[in-house]
Subunit: 225 residues, 2 copies
Amino acid sequence: MKNPTRAFKDAIYEQFARVGKAISSPRRLELLDLLCQGPRTVEALANESGLTIANTSQHLQVLRAARLVAADKDGLYVIYRLADQQVCEFFRSMRLLAESRLAEVEQIKNRFLDGREGMMPVDRTKLLKLVREDAVTVLDVRPSVEFNAGHIAGALSVPLKELQQHLSDLPRDQEIVAYCRGPYCVLSVMAVEILRARGFKAIRLEEGIQDFRALGFPIIGNEEV
Amino acid sequence: MKNPTRAFKDAIYEQFARVGKAISSPRRLELLDLLCQGPRTVEALANESGLTIANTSQHLQVLRAARLVAADKDGLYVIYRLADQQVCEFFRSMRLLAESRLAEVEQIKNRFLDGREGMMPVDRTKLLKLVREDAVTVLDVRPSVEFNAGHIAGALSVPLKELQQHLSDLPRDQEIVAYCRGPYCVLSVMAVEILRARGFKAIRLEEGIQDFRALGFPIIGNEEV
DNA sequence: ATAGTATTCAATTGATTAATTGAATACTAT
DNA sequence: ATAGTATTCAATTAATCAATTGAATACTAT
């Protein structure tokens, strides 16, 4: 017969484990990461993550059961969003912990990205300072739906897919800093490669919108998750 | 044939999921919570958590594989500790998220603790101020090994098991504030009940040592996890 | 060398989880 | 009312996970 204190603790940790179980799947982590950039339909999430629509829906049900995401109906479409900004912050703290504790993270990054011109070393502190001071042109190369959800104040939206068409809009006499979803998104790597090939002075910042938010940058957008 | 970007993302989220899998078990969460209070042997962890020694060891192997805990040999004994202070912070952010997102947490707390005299409502902000100003007697009622690992500067160590023997040491003219491992530990609930039954002016603070650390209280001890 | 103690390992069993597939449901346009 | 589209549900299968049990390993005291 379990004593009441033991029963209490078992019940409490069972609840905490609901959060752990929700993020124990790489698939659900990717869905959360995408939702950190802004709300999305099931179909859009399936496309971005490479999952089937049914599988995506099932993982979203798990995240919803753990109360990490919420859903709204918009006609035929269901729009999923993070339940709270705190979920983004938690995701970010999990990522930072994984980065600092698991050497494999850096190894994988190096294996897939090392040597790419968009990845050359930058003076991150100086670059962040230049961004804060509006001393550079800041490009957000994510899809515009993510830009609209939230972006650095002053950033221009030039989704990677539209970059070729917008080259003439960009300054050649000022440094261009491109960002996307975060350190493990290659949109800005590719953008910088394209820009540099065309003679622009372009550099990548690996921070994503949630990192900028945590660093105190003013974020503008229609989604206060 | 998976494209390289897809393979990269799959590999990265697989790494992140290692953290999620590690904390998907209520048993491992309790072990982490205990280790947040200070290093412990397998046997001590098994005793506190109600698990068998073999089961405890297996869960510790999982946590070690995720690089969240580290082990040192001390003769016959293996001492487990958290691998980094950041693991504590992550654990705490998971707990705060669960508290804010899962109504069941509050419900369980109420079901097991509601009505107990050690749980009466307190003006938490005022109490924290009084603690900070040394205007109250602060009791740490955890086992002394946990007190030694880290405690609020100025706190007295009176483990619950030894409280009866130390009553004569305690002031009757000053308010006594007792704390233990955190909101889901009942050591301080019981301590306050005993103290009040003996005429002391005692109140419980539900914060644990990691909450105090996050709130900026000076922490003294021999364990800088 | 041996007995005792602490811890880990390995195999087994039962439970849980993830992906797939096809059906069901909900909504819209006609 | 019907067809099309988006999403969810349910059943199935395979993989993973958790607890148990007994054996193995590591260390200490004698």
